[in-house]
Amino acid sequence: MLLYSFLKTITEKEIVIELKNDLKIRGTLKSVDQFHNIRIDDIQIMNLDQYPHLAAVKSLFVRGPSIRYVYLPKEAVDVDLLQEASRREALNAKIMAN
């Protein structure tokens, strides 16, 4: 749930997603859900030579499990806050397990 909340803070920012079929898409993150499904707008295919049939596509829904990487804008990420949240989540999980 932590990284879903984190990705939600990146909405309306420009990101690049790399899929497991090597397709690389640059665009604006419009929305994300708990499965990391992503709606991305104003897209531009970065390796269009391999995927020419997507040249005219403007907007995509990407299924979460087909994502390999999301390249994030560094300035949109509060590193200290993120690390603290991750530590807290891990501690909570430990408490729940006992």
């Binding site: 990487y69 891990a90 999980a93």
Partner: protein, 80 residues
């Protein structure tokens, strides 16, 4: 006894090396992770290993300031 992922918690804000599927490896500073091994890495460097001509191993590298890695790609995390 502590859960395996607890060792990963102690590596937050430290440099880690992660082996991924499809002959990929990423090194970077661990900012966050979850129970699926989804990771957020800072100043990440991805290395892709390929077998080139005459069975030589070729590598290509990419660097990113902030990278989200999907957990289902992770094979192992080095703890050196």
């Amino acid at each position: 006894m502590s859960a395996p992922l607890e060792i990963v918690r102690s590596r937050i804000d430290e440099k880690i090396v992660v082996k991924l599927r499809d002959n990929r490896e990423v090194t970077g500073t661990l900012h966050a992770y979850d129970e699926h091994c989804n990771l957020v890495l800072g100043d990440a460097e991805e290395t892709v290993y390929k077998v080139g001509s005459e069975h030589k191993i070729e590598t290509s590298k990419n660097t990113t300031e902030m990278l989200f890695v999907r957990g289902d790609q992770v094979i192992y995390i080095l703890l050196n």
